[in-house]
Amino acid sequence: MGIAVRLNDVSKKFGSFFANRNISLSVEEGAIHALVGENGAGKSTLTKIIYGMHLPTSGEVIIQGKPVRFTSPRDAIAAGIGMVHQHFMLVPELSVAENIILGHEQTALFRSLPLKKAKALIQKDAEAYGLAVDPDAPVANLSIGEQQRVEILKLLFRQAAIMIFDEPTAVLTPSETDRLFATLRSLRARGKTVILITHKLDEVLNVADTISVMRKGEIVGTVPASSVTKPELARMMVGRSVLLRVINTPASPQEIILNIHNLRYLTQTGEEKLHDLSLNIKAGEIYGIAGVEGNGQSELVKALWGLAPAGSSLSGEATLKGKSLIGQSPATIARMGVSHTPENRLRHAVILDYTIAENLLFGRHRERSFHQGIGFNKRVIKAYTETMIADYDIRCTSPDRQPLSDLSGGNQQKVVLARELGRPDISLLILAQPTRGVDIGAIETIHKKIIEARDSGMAILLVSSELEEIMALSTRIACFYKGSVRHEFSQEEVELKRVAGHEFEKEIGLYIT
C-alpha cells in the first residue's frame, strides 16, 4: 500500500504560538487513521493544513507522492481530499441531491441541472456504503445523522480518495454512531483513506487501524490500534495517568432545595413534553437524570431557567426553598440562587466575539462586587479572571484580548463552568450536558469541580446523555421516559451498583427505553 498523506516536519505558528510543531506523519492508503488528543492539542489545525485552509509555516505536505502547496480548500478538493466538518456545510432549503451537486454541477451555467444523472450516482453510492437517504428530501427535514450521510455522499460524488472526519460522532446517537462506523469500514474496504479526528477513546479503538496521539501541538506517538489499551492512550494524550472515573466520595444530602410537583409542559403545538413530573433535589446531592434525548430533559431545564418559549404552557409546581420558579425571568431566578450551564454552550452560554475575561463575567455582570461606577471594577475582575483561569486550568494566552472563539471546545466549557460554579450563594446548580464535546483531561477537572460543589452544599441537577457520567457522579438517579420519572434509584442503590458498572448501565437502559 502507498502512503496517501505524508507530512514532513510541518509547523504552524499563529503569532508566537505553535499550534503545530514539527509534525511528521504518514497516513497509509486504504486505512482508517485516527488523530486523538485533547481539545486544543492541534488536531484541527493539522487537518486544516491538509485540507488547504491553513498554509503551514514550515515543512512539507505530500499527497499521493506529490509535494503540494494548497492555498485554499479548492486545491485540496482537486487533489482528491474531502472533509466532513463538525458543523455541516449544507443549505437547509435545498434538497439532498441539490446539496450534493452544489459547487460540482458539471454543466454549463445556463443549462438545467443534471439532477437525474446525479441522483442515479447518489443512489449507487448510497447502496454501496450504507448511506440510505432520500435524494429529494429537503435537508432541513433530515436528522443530524442523515445530514452527516449527505456530507459523506458529497465527498463520494466528488470522488474524494482521502476523507477527513472532524469529530463525526460528537452529534450522533449511539445507534447512529454504529452505523457511521459501518460506513467507515466499507469506505476502507473500497480503498478510501479515512482520517478520523476524535477524543473518544472507545471509538478509536473500535474502528481505527492506526492511532496518532497529539499533545500540545506535537505528535507524541503513532501506534497500531490493536496494540494499545484505553488507559495507555489516555496517558499518552494527557501526559499523565488519568482517572477515567472520578473518585466519588459518599454524599450526605441535607434538606430539600428544589421541589417539583406534578409539573406539566405543553409546547405551542400542544405536545406534552413533561407529564405530571414530580421529583425533589436535596442540598449536597447530585440528582442525575438519565434518559434518551427528547424525553423532556431539555424542557425541564428550560422551564426551571424561566425560558419556556412563548405559547407553551406550564402547570404544576416547581419551588426553590418554597418559592415558586414558574413565571420568573432568568435574571430573577439567578438572583434566587440558581446557576445554569445550558446544553448548547456555543449558542446559549457564551458570546463568542467577547474576550475570555468578558465571558467569565457574562451573566454574572449584575453582581455588585464587580461594579464600579457605571462600569466594572477592572482590578477585581482581573483578579477574578486570573483565579478562575488557574483554578479550572483554562488554556489561553491573553484573557483580556483573546476572543472566546479562539479557545477549544473543552476550554470554552471550562470558562462556562468556572463562571457558573463560582456564583456566590448558589443553592441549585443545573448542569445540562456539562462535558459534551470536552476531552478527557478537562472532563476530569470538571467532574472534580462538580463533586466539590456538591460537598459545599449545593443541590445539583445533572442532565447528561452520557450514562457513564450520570453513573459516576450521581447521588440519586432518575430514569426519564416520556416526560416523567419512570424509576428512581435511591442513594444506597446507586452507591451499591456503581461498582457493577456495565450491569448497572444495562439496568438503567431498561428504564429509559
Binding site: G363, R366, F376
Partner: protein, 341 residues
C-alpha cells in the same frame, strides 16, 4: 509583510487610489486636477473660514453617525436619522421661538435642546416599539417615518408657522442662540461653526464610554451579537432595542443644536438636506465605533464643503460622482485590510 506596516499601508493605498480616480474623472470633465485639489485644500483647511465650515459640517455628521452607530451595535439599522433630525430641528425652532424672551440663556438653550432630543427620541422609539411589539422590520419602519416626518414638518411649516412669503419659521429668541466660535474666540471668522461642536465632542465621548465601558453597553452589545445567549444570561433584549433606538434618535435630534440654535436660528424647509443619510456612510466607514466616527465625519465634512468650494471649476454633478467613488474606495480598502490582517 508584518501587520504593523499593513495597518499604515491600507489608508494610504485608499487615499492614493481615491486621488488617482478623482483626477481621472476631473481630467475627463475637462479640468486640471492639481489646480482643483489645490483650490479645495486652500479653501477648506487653508483659511479659518474654511476650517469653520468643515467643523460645522463635521459636527452634524458626527451626531448623525452616532445616531446610526448605536442602534447598529445591537444589529438594528436606523435609516431614520434624517426624519429624527427633522423632528428635532422643528421642535427646537418652535420651542426657541415660543419661549419668553426674558428667560435666561442657559435655561432657554437647555429647553430647546431637550425638546429637540425628545422629538428625535420619540420618533425613533416609534420604530423601536413597532419592532419589539409587532416585529416590524426597523428599516422599513424608519424609512416610512422619514416620509411622515417630512410630511408633518412640511405641513406645519407651510400652513401654520412659516413667515408669510418665506419658507422658514420666525427667529428663535436671542437667548436661545448657541454662540458661534467667532463671537467667543474670534477664530474661524464668520463661519457657522458654533459651540455645539464642544457638546458633540462630549456626547461622542459619552457614547464611547456607554458602549465599551459600562454594564449597559456590555449587555447591549451582547444582545446584538448573540440574542439567544443574552436571553439565557438574563438580559432583556426588547428593552435594549428600545433604548438603543431611543438614544440614536435623541442624538439625531441633537443635530438641531448645531443647525438651528447655532447657525440658522430658525427652521427652514430642506435645511437638513439628507445629511441623516450621509450619517449611515459615516457610521459604516467608522465600523460603528464612536471615536472612529469623529475621523470619518471629518473626512465627509471635508468632502462636502470642499466640493462646494470648487463649484466654479467643476460641476456639482461631477463632484458628487467623485465623492461617492471615494467613499466606496475607502470602504473597500478597509474591508480588504481587515481580511489581510
Amino acid at each position: 509583510m508584518n501587520p504593523k506596516s499593513l495597518r499604515l499601508l491600507i489608508p494610504m493605498l485608499s487615499a492614493v487610489s481615491a486621488i488617482a480616480v478623482s483626477s481621472l474623472i476631473i481630467v475627463m470633465a475637462g479640468s486640471d486636477p492639481i489646480m482643483i485639489f489645490q483650490k479645495m485644500f486652500r479653501s477648506t483647511l487653508g483659511t479659518p473660514y474654511g476650517v469653520g465650515q468643515v467643523v460645522f459640517r463635521m459636527t452634524t455628521l458626527v451626531l448623525m453617525g452616532l445616531a446610526v452607530a448605536i442602534p447598529f451595535q445591537i444589529r438594528l439599522f436606523n435609516i431614520g436619522a434624517e426624519g429624527q433630525l427633522l423632528m428635532g430641528t422643528f421642535a427646537a425652532a418652535m420651542t426657541g421661538a415660543m419661549l419668553p424672551a426674558a428667560m435666561p440663556s442657559a435655561v432657554s438653550i437647555t429647553l430647546c435642546i431637550c425638546s429637540a432630543i425628545a422629538a428625535g427620541a420619540c420618533w425613533a422609539l416609534l420604530a423601536g416599539t413597532l419592532k419589539v411589539r409587532f416585529g416590524v422590520n426597523e428599516v422599513i419602519a424608519t424609512i416610512m417615518l422619514n416620509f411622515i416626518a417630512q410630511g408633518i414638518t412640511g405641513y406645519l411649516l407651510t400652513y401654520h408657522f412659516a413667515i408669510p412669503s418665506t419658507v422658514h419659521t420666525p427667529q428663535i429668541n436671542a437667548n436661545a442662540i448657541i454662540p458661534s466660535f467667532d463671537s467667543v474666540t474670534g477664530l474661524v471668522t464668520n463661519s457657522p461653526a458654533n459651540l455645539s461642536t464642544l457638546l458633540t465632542a462630549g456626547v461622542t465621548l459619552l457614547c464611547w464610554i456607554l458602549l465599551f465601558h459600562s454594564r449597559f453597553g456590555f449587555e447591549m452589545r451582547a444582545s446584538g451579537i448573540q440574542p439567544e445567549a443574552a436571553q439565557y444570561g438574563g438580559i432583556n433584549a426588547g428593552m435594549h432595542t428600545l433604548t438603543a433606538m431611543g438614544i440614536g434618535g435623541a442624538i439625531a435630534g441633537l443635530g438641531a443644536a448645531n443647525l438651528v440654535l447655532g447657525y440658522k436660528h430658525y427652521y427652514e424647509a430642506g435645511m437638513t438636506g439628507g445629511i441623516g443619510f450621509t450619517g449611515i456612510a459615516v457610521a459604516l466607514l467608522a465600523g460603528a465605533h464612536p471615536l472612529w466616527i469623529l475621523l470619518s465625519a471629518l473626512f465627509f465634512g471635508f468632502l462636502e464643503y470642499g466640493g462646494l468650494t470648487v463649484n466654479a471649476w467643476i460641476p456639482k454633478d461631477i463632484f458628487m460622482i467623485i465623492e461617492a467613488i471615494t467613499i466606496i474606495l475607502v470602504i473597500s480598502f478597509s474591508a480588504l485590510g481587515k481580511r489581510w490582517l
